[in-house]
Amino acid sequence: MAHRGVATYRALWRRRLLFTLAMAAGVAVLAVYSLSVSDFNITFAEAFSCLADHVAGVPPDGYIKWIMTDIVINDNAPRAICGIAAGGSLAVSGAVMQSVTRNPLADPYTIGISSAAMFGVTIAVILGIAVLPSGLEEAGVIANAFAFSLAPAAAILFVATFRKVTPTMMVLIGIAMMYMFSAFTTFLKFNATDDALAEIFEWGLGTMAGTDWSSVPPMAVSFAAMALFSMALANKMNVLSAGENASSSLGVNPARLRVACFVAVSLATAVTVCFTGTIGFVGLVAPHIARLFVGSDNKILIPVSALVGAFTILGADCIVRLLPGGLPVGVVTALVGSPLFLYFLYRQRKSMAW
């Protein structure tokens, strides 16, 4: 005779999965809608037919259709895929960082990845120093951003080899790295030309405008790997939430899990930063919005965070493209998202307290 609680628990999970599927459908609809958003007047139906024809291998008939297909398939489609990958990756990274540091203020940039990447960009642009010597300046800048954004994780790994690293210590190491790299960057910018400063500034904004089909494979692979990694370790991250001693006594080595998660977050975030610059807000807030709806069990928190993150960036990127002046997407996510988040926080069920 099964306990009736088992059925209640399973029913709760069915509701959670249903919610996740609904979110996924929402993201899919928004992604298809985003294909139609551009300066060129394309309707949702036209965008959908362009996509359907392209997938079916039907060549576009007529000049207008040909231009539409070009915009939908070559500009907007990779941008949508990269938006999903960037939003998903940042949100999952944020959820993982919050869980393993047990700190609701943690996000993917907590360990100083963004300022380290900026420093990499700065030395490439101003001093012309690139870790990967290549003829193309842009590739050199991206390689620098990637290489330097791994520096904080390397520092934490180094410290972790000879002493036990507490979550607070990890965050503090990250903050120290952030200030150090910011100081270096400011020092270099002090004597830089206006052109160099403008280029560095653009890098720091965070935008989806630079993504095309060549950005899709690395971003998609990195997002998929991060999502699989976090789902595989979701149970262990749950156990870690019980505290250091309790998680040891339940068979999870807290220090080892934490370091593994930091390395994974660093890699995934480094890839994202390379192609989009530093998009703030999503990594911090998407997991919290997900928590409001499904609670903090990482098994459901991680997929829902990914969907919330993807939805946020896709939506914000649509707004960016509708507005004149080419605002960076990070500005829109924060401007629209913050009041919405405060509203959710105000309306939250009491039981969902932090």
């Binding site: 609680g5 628990y9 006594s249 903090s296």
Partner: protein
């Protein structure tokens, strides 16, 4: 069926950096029984139980669980045999009670939560009479309920031994008694070796089968409550004067205010100038001056050890 568990502590020492906490502890304990570790704050009680399940690695000596050195076991192997209930819970991102107790199945379970795991969780909650809290969030619960949930998590591990770090320290008297009676009953019914750290001498005396009294990082005395809880031991370990009275075959400790210094019923306590025999005897033994002085150490504060 759960079989008996033996924990052998062989010459275990532990130091944080250079300050020694445990010095050469030798102890053999085996279940099923209800053991209480007593001793003042900072004497190494928590450190000792943390060495038993590899939360800490001893700096000297070895701990054997059923003859196997814990340093050669993985955390997961130990977690299948030894449950642990921490002193405080983290509630940064609270889970439901079910999900919290489900963590106890982690050492046994795979990635998926099976119906068997859920069945064990719900049965454990019912056993502890907290089944109605199953879907509540952990942070909404009272201290007594939280303690029971953490106990349920330890029991859901289906261990042979259960270690508890001050399970009664945040609880009112009724809950202290309730938790201790429950633990004693569990040690009988589930044939568990239950080891708790306790600060209340009388609670320990009332329920424990066996007492380990620690002093300055060493085991000072072991035995039944009647053997270990004596006025001499309490004075030596805590530096507090006391009177032991008999309570249905178990000792009951009546503590004196350290400032009073004398427990003789006819003596004047703080005004005692040494007329009574016990004060004079104690003073001469300690080589103290004529004025009566209580033990130099203040009464240990209740709190984490």
């Amino acid at each position: 069926m759960v079989t008996k568990m033996e924990i052998a502590i062989e010459n275990v020492s532990f130091s944080y950096d250079s300050s020694p906490v445990l010095r050469d502890i030798r102890l053999d304990i085996g279940g099923p029984q209800f053991i209480s570790i007593l001793g003042p704050n900072g004497v190494g009680k928590s450190t000792l139980i943390h060495c038993m399940n590899k939360i800490l690695k001893p700096t000297g000596g070895a701990v054997l669980l059923d003859g196997r050195d814990v340093s050669e076991c993985t955390l997961k192997e130990i977690a299948r045999k030894v449950g642990y209930v921490p002193h405080t819970a983290s509630d940064a991102f609270p889970l439901t009670v079910v999900d919290t107790v489900l963590m106890g199945r982690h050492p046994h379970a795979g990635w998926r939560t099976t119906d068997d795991d859920l069945e064990i969780v719900y049965r454990t909650l019912d056993d502890l009479e907290i089944g109605h809290l199953a879907m509540r969030y952990f942070n909404e619960l009272s201290a007594g309920q939280r303690q029971k949930v953490m106990l349920a998590r330890g029991l859901a591990q289906k261990p042979k031994a259960l270690l508890l770090d001050e399970p009664t320290s945040n609880l009112d008297v009724k809950h202290q008694l309730g938790i201790c009676r429950l633990l004693r009953d569990l040690s009988r019914r589930e044939r568990l070796l239950v080891v708790i750290i306790c600060h209340d001498l009388n609670i320990a005396a009332k329920y424990a089968d066996f007492i380990i009294l620690m002093h300055e990082g060493r085991v000072y005395d072991v035995g039944s409550p009647g053997q270990v809880i004596t006025a001499d031991n309490v004075r030596a370990v805590y530096g507090v004067e006391s009177r032991i009275i008999d309570d249905g075959g178990r000792p009951h400790v009546v503590l004196s205010d350290p400032a009073e210094g004398c427990m003789e019923p006819l003596c004047g306590g703080s005004r005692c100038v040494g007329d009574c025999a016990s004060c004079a005897e104690r003073r001469s033994a300690a080589g103290a001056g004529p004025a009566p002085s209580g033990p130099s150490e203040p009464l240990p504060a209740q709190g984490p050890g």
